[in-house]
Symmetry: C2
Subunit: 545 residues, 2 copies
């Protein structure tokens, strides 16, 4: 028997596009002589469809798409993910299902039992868990159909769940396991995935075909990396990251387990490629091409400019340099040098006159006050506004260049440097931004060395440095990581050896900045805990604040 893995990039709600792409893949699998082609979780509608699932009209379109694909299953079995209506009145309205289509019709439907409802996942908001487990038979083989999380509770050892779907299916003696996934990228995920698959084959001794999405849906990035695993625990094949592919495997060869093939998993390289995917799909799926950003001469905007140039092409990226009286000469020179290095259009707009006009208009109302963060914010907002004006006039989407460290502590100006349609590096701590810059320079200088080595500054007042307001990033990032990613409390972080005052200050800054993060652009997610939909915090609260 031959089994094809179809690792594709879907578009949420674009039924026509998704179905056309899948029909194409079915043809390709047929050409490769395959018996079964396997797609991903909820591929019909894209993942995550979120509250579209609450629309009867949307579900009807899903059903229609499944029927279209069923018709294409006359010569090859087709396994797709789609929502199913729950026929029982009690419980949630839908199941999250794997459809086994064969001989032109729906042969079997298996529902997902383990519904992730944490971080970015809201599955129990929509879906009822499976309560029955049944294998499907096809061409003499007994097949266990599972959906994503269903294989993440091996032997019931995952504390989140009380059911282990494969334990339920094993008495029916399946020959192999198919897993339809929508498993978002984080820089540790490819590793975890392989561990979980290994744990599964260790327990069940069955070949497994794990089929993931690739491509990005706004902030959520899927890396592909689908896996075919031999029953002896060898990775028979790991599909490319961030790429669409249809590849066919001989089941006997997979069972034999004689070959092994895995990809390198280097954190910064993975993040680099993930961000390119995030950028490409944000633009591509919105039907847009062109980006704009402000280039300050600092590291953050430099890294974003290079990412944009690599993802969208130099011809589609435009940068604006907007020096003020507080900008140093090297800022403009460094920014210009970078723009020239990556061959993108740059323009300079001086903001001093606009700034003076604001100060003039506000003068009668500001009488008796002195220069403070207000005037700094005015500069940042003039830049945001000029960029938005260019964006509105020419249709270039503004890329936000904030990093996770400054987002975390609220070191940024709402509607100023926090503006933009997409935050590209909002899930990278400052030290990770540096690492990414070094990575970009690995084959020759792209980002001028001076941008990497000079001390970071917002340049909103004379001789300003980030270190005037913030602890050194080496330390700050570590405290933030413990609080945000590891959800450690102040006592636990202090016990790790951090200064108590510093910890209290940093945690307080994080908690009082929720109102700012609430209004920022979606951030491409590369860590296990990004700001945005996966981290839900009260704005008005008084915990550690």
């Amino acid at each position: 028997m031959k089994i094809s893995v179809a690792q594709l990039n879907y578009h949420i709600g674009n039924f026509e596009g998704n179905v056309a792409k899948m029909l194409e893949a079915i043809k390709e699998a047929e050409k490769q002589g395959s018996d079964i082609v396997v797609f991903s979780e909820l591929c019909i509608c894209g993942y995550p469809p979120r509250d579209f699932l609450e629309f009867d009209d949307f579900i009807r379109l899903c059903e229609k798409a499944v029927q279209q694909l069923a018709k294409a299953s006359k010569n090859i079995a087709v396994v797709v993910g789609a929502p199913t209506r729950n026929p029982v009145i009690e419980g949630k309205d839908l199941f999250n299902s794997a459809y086994f289509l064969a001989d032109g019709k729906v042969k079997h439907i298996a529902h997902k039992a383990l519904l992730p409802t944490y971080d970015i996942f809201d599955e129990y908001r929509y879906f009822e868990p499976a309560n029955e487990f049944e294998i499907v038979e096809y061409k003499g083989k007994r097949i266990a159909l599972t959906v994503c999380e269903d294989i993440w509770n091996v032997g019931n050892e995952n504390p989140m769940y009380t059911v282990c779907p494969l334990d339920e299916l094993m008495p029916q003696k399946p020959d192999f396991v198919l897993n339809l996934s929508a498993s978002p990228f984080s820089y540790t995920h490819a590793e975890s995935r392989i561990h979980v698959l290994k744990a599964n084959v260790e327990r069940y001794g069955l070949p497994m075909f794990y089929v993931n999405h690739c491509g990005a849906q706004t902030e959520v990035i899927f890396d592909g990396g689908s896996i075919v695993m031999s029953p002896n625990g060898k990775v028979h094949d790991e599909l490319p990251y961030f790429e669409e592919i249809v590849k066919t495997y001989d089941l006997d060869a997979v069972v034999a387990g004689k070959t092994s093939q895995e990809q390198a998993k280097e954190k910064i390289a993975l993040i680099h490629d993930a961000l390119l995917t995030g950028l490409r799909d944000y633009f591509g799926k919105l039907g847009l091409k062109k980006a704009i950003l402000g280039l300050s001469g600092g590291i953050d905007s430099a890294v974003v400019a290079v990412l944009a140039q690599r993802a969208l092409g130099a011809e589609n990226v435009r940068v604006i340099l907007m020096p003020s009286q507080f900008s140093s000469d090297h800022s403009v020179n460094d920014a210009r040098q970078l723009a020239q290095n990556i061959n993108i259009q740059y323009d300079i707009i001086y903001i001093e006159d606009i700034y003076d006009e604001y100060i003039g208009a506000l003068k009668p109302h500001f009488a008796g006050t002195t220069f403070n963060v207000t005037e700094e914010n005015i500069q940042a907002r003039i830049r945001g506004m000029l960029l938005m004006a260019m964006s509105n006039k020419f249709g270039n989407i503004l890329l936000n260049t904030s990093n996770k460290s400054e987002s975390a502590v609220g070191y940024g100006t709402l509607y100023g440097d926090m503006a933009g349609g997409l935050s590209v590096i909002g899930d990278l701590y400052k030290m990770e931004v540096y690492a990414l810059a070094e990575y970009m320079n690995k084959d020759g200088e792209v980002i001028p060395q001076n941008i990497i080595t000079k001390p970071p500054s917002a340049e909103l007042r004379p001789d300003q440095k980030d270190s005037d307001s913030l602890p050194p990033y080496e330390e700050l990032d570590e405290v933030l990581f413990q609080y945000i990613e590891n959800r450690k409390g102040p006592k636990e972080i202090i016990k790790m050896g951090f200064d108590a005052k510093l910890v209290a200050r940093v945690l307080r800054l994080v908690n009082i900045s929720e109102f700012k993060r609430y209004q920022t652009a979606p951030m491409l997610r590369v860590s296990n805990k990004a700001f945005g939909m996966g981290r839900r915090m009260p704005i008005v609260g008084k915990y550690l604040s």
Copy 2:
């Protein structure tokens, strides 16, 4: 036996403040000669605590607070809501529990079985449902302890759930039911609540004490309106809306069911009072006092100004009039008149010079283009920036004045009129804003009649009217309501008699504007489906767009 209902306004994560308030209420109940004082769901930490629940440190503080309250239960039983750790490794880490404290210690803990995971609710993200049901005995009475949603599946007729907690408890023959709630306001909710309680007493024939929160937590508003229900289905008492109160009832009198007392439930009056609560608590709980907003002479900012003045006091509200060359005379006059009517400080800042400066700076880059939405947005953003500058300098929080109709279709400028820390009327359709204005004028003109009667306009180009870009609000609002509140699809809305082209256009505008709403301020929630945390939509999608 005497039972006290303590309807209080909590502050998320403010354990010290919440406990102090509860200790005060316990004393008051003792003074009223009570045997049991009942608080609300998760009152210990405030509701919704959201991802704070994922912090071990936060849970420890909850546990400590429960112990403090237990000590105060020597002469009176105290019933409070708090999270409990799940001792079993499988399943979610916490339960959402009602604690029965008596004789100085924890006498009984009942967990919530029905975990709302829809709209603004994410309870299954954190909590494991109860799997045991046991009553507690106190002073010879058998008491059924329930938490909020637990009484919303009467006889298992709510399609969302498969368990009915009171059905499980009835064999243990309880004498009465306590329900600890955190049931957010919407303008239909007080009505629904009474229906549900009636359905419960009809089925079980038991007296019920339903204790709700009052006060607002960012966008989520609690109206109080706690209910004491007699077993004959009479509302023995309904507590005031939006007010803290501790009130004591004689159980025999409740059982006798001879009196009945309900409050009026008029939609616009409820919304008015809810918004005042929302405003007051947003400021109060952040420790702030002063608001600022732009007054355009239009209906939206007029209504927000009056709400702010009523909620915060005239001395704490400041408005800025920011006319441009496109502003009509009546706009400035109407705005000034309103400011004088409600006795708030107003200032005028002309934006034309700043606008010209921007246009000058952009001229070389805009060569060959004509005036369009870009230049309109520049005006809106100059206003947003001036308001933010005033806000930054003087600590007045900027109130956003967008309404739900314009938020829905994206008729607003990001970082311009969409700026602000809190959206006050973002959950009111335009026609509801008019109704609210009329209601404000019911005892004499507060909002100048001309503001109510003139055709709405953004005044960003000569002779602009909203009706140039949008369908009439009467029609638009109805289509939006069917799509947003009722989740009807295009076919269903057309079937109701709306023009197919109009429906397609409106639904498309809603779906392509998600990116704008993603970056707007939290909106005070008064309907059953508000934008924000209760409505989760993909940004990059292709459904109806």
